[in-house]
Amino acid sequence: MAKEYPGTPLKSKDFKKALKTKYTPSAEYAWSAGQAINSFLNGLKEGRILGIKCRGCKRILVPPRAFCEECFISVEDWVELKDTGRVNTFAISYLDTMANRIKKPIIPAVIEIDGAGGNGFLHILGEVDPKKVKFGMKVKAVWKPAKERKGDITDIKYFKPLKGGD
C-alpha cells in the first residue's frame, strides 16, 4: 500500500453539493497511413522491416517517411532491414494506459534497428526479466504467425533478448 500523507481530505458530502454535467465526446477517426507508412505496414504483414534512405543526409529512416525532415526532400530509396537491433533506452511501466496498477510490468523500449545507423522505433520488450534489461542489449523481433498478421505495428509481438548477443 502507498504511504498515507497528512492533508485535508474531501468528504463525500462535499461532492454532493457540486453539480456536474457528464458527457462522452463522439470523436472517432480513421487515419490514412500515407504512402510511406503504408509500405512499412505491408512489409510487417510479410514479416519484413522496411526502411528508406535519404539521398541527402544518407540516413536510413525506419519507420520510413515520404520526406526527410533534415534535408526537406522527398525520399524514395527503399531498403530491407534485419529484424534485430539494440536497446537505446527503456522504461519499466507498472501502470497501464489508464494508469491502473498492473502485476506484470510492460517494458517499452526504443530499438535501434540493425543497419539503420542508430535509427529505429519504439516497441515493447518481452521474454526478459525487467531487472536484466541493459542499454545496448541485442534484441530480435518476435513475430505473430503469418496468418494473424494484418499490417500493423503489433504484427511484431515484441522484441526479445538475442541469445549470444552482448
Binding site: T21, Y23, P25, S26, A27, E28, Y29, A30, W31, S32, A33, G34, Q35, A36, I37, N38, R65, A66, F67, E69, E70, C71, F72
Partner: protein, 387 residues
Amino acid sequence: MENVAIIGLGFTGARPDSPELSYKELMYEAAVKAYEDAGVDPRKDVGSFIGASEDFWDGTSIFDEYLPDQIGGALRPVCSICNDGLHAIATGVMHIRSGIADIVAVEAHSKVSDVVNPDGIMHFALDPVIDRTLGYNAHVIAGLEMYRYLHEACVTKDECAEVVVKNRRNALLNPYAAYGAKVNIEDVLCSPPAYEPMSEMDVSNFVDGACVIVLASERIARNANDTVWINGIGWCNDSPNMGLRDWSYPRYVKLAAERAYADAGINNPYDEIDFAEVDDTYSFKELQHLEALRLLETGDAARLLCDGAFDLEGEFPVNVSGGSLGMGNLLDANGLVKTFEAVEQLRGIAGQRQVKNAETALVQSWRGVPTTSGAVMILGSEPKGGA
C-alpha cells in the same frame, strides 16, 4: 512599422477524400510548393513556422507536436495557433513587425476525411453545461443566425440560394476547387431541408487540402518576384454566449474589419477594394459578412448579388475562387485558401477566373459554428504608403 509581404504560396487543391496520403504528406506537398514559389530554403531561411490547427479535427491532443517535420520546421522555432489560418498569418505579421523573424511560413490543413463523425467534433464545441445537453446538431447555430438575419435584413431564401449558384459556377473555373457545378435556384431551394431555413445545398461540404503561405519583411520582399503586400490585418471575437451574442449581425467581423482598414488606411472600403474573398461556410454568411465588413449597408448585399455585382465580371467580384460553397470547406485552412486565391488574382495569374485590374483585395475568415471569431486582411499589389 515594417511592411510585410507574401512571397510564396502552396496549395494542394481541395478534394473530398485523399486516402492515399497522410496528413503529413499532404502538408509536405503544400510546403514544397510554397518554398519553391518563394525561392527560400526552409531549413536555412525561415525564421518562424506557424501552423493553424485544432486538436479535435486532427485527432491528436497537443497537435503542434506533429507540425515541424513536414513543413521544414524541425529544430527551428515553431508554434501553432488554435484558430483559422488568417489568425496564423496575423501572428506571422507580428513576428516580422516585431523583428524576431524576416521570413515566416504559415500552414493550415484539413484532413477531415480522417474524421469519421465530423458532426461529433462540431457538437463537442458547444458549451458543455448549458448548450450541449439539449441535443441538437451544431449546424443549428447557423440556422438560428440565418433566420434572424433574413428577418432583420429583409433577405429571402431565394437570394441566399443565388450565392450558392454563383459560387459553385465560379468554382467551375477553378482547378483547385472540388464542388464546381452549374446549379440553379430551384436546385438549392428544393434540396432537402437541413436546419431550416437552411437546405442541404446552403451548407458547404468538408474537403481535404493543405495550404502554406510564406511571409517576408520588406527588406527581403523588395528583392522577391510577384510580391503581394499585407497592408492591413485585424481580428476579433464576440462573446460566445448564446443569450448575449447578436444573432443577425456579426459584430466581431465589423470590428476586425475596422482594425484592418485603419491599418491599411482605407476609408471607403467598397470604392477602394477591387474584390473580396469572404467566408461563405453557409450561403447567407456571404451576404451577412459583406455587410458587416461595411462594404454595404444591411440588406443591400442581396440586391447587388441579384444584379450581378459580385460576379466575376461584376463591379465587385466576391468569392471568385468559388468560396467554401464551391471550393469545399477546409476547416482552419479556409482563410489561407482564400488568401491563396487573392494573391493569385493580384499577381494576375488566375487564368480564366482573373479579375480585371485587381490591385487591392479583402480576405475574411470565420471559424465556423459555434464561434464568434473572425479575421480580416487587406492585400495590395503595392505596399501601403506607396511603392
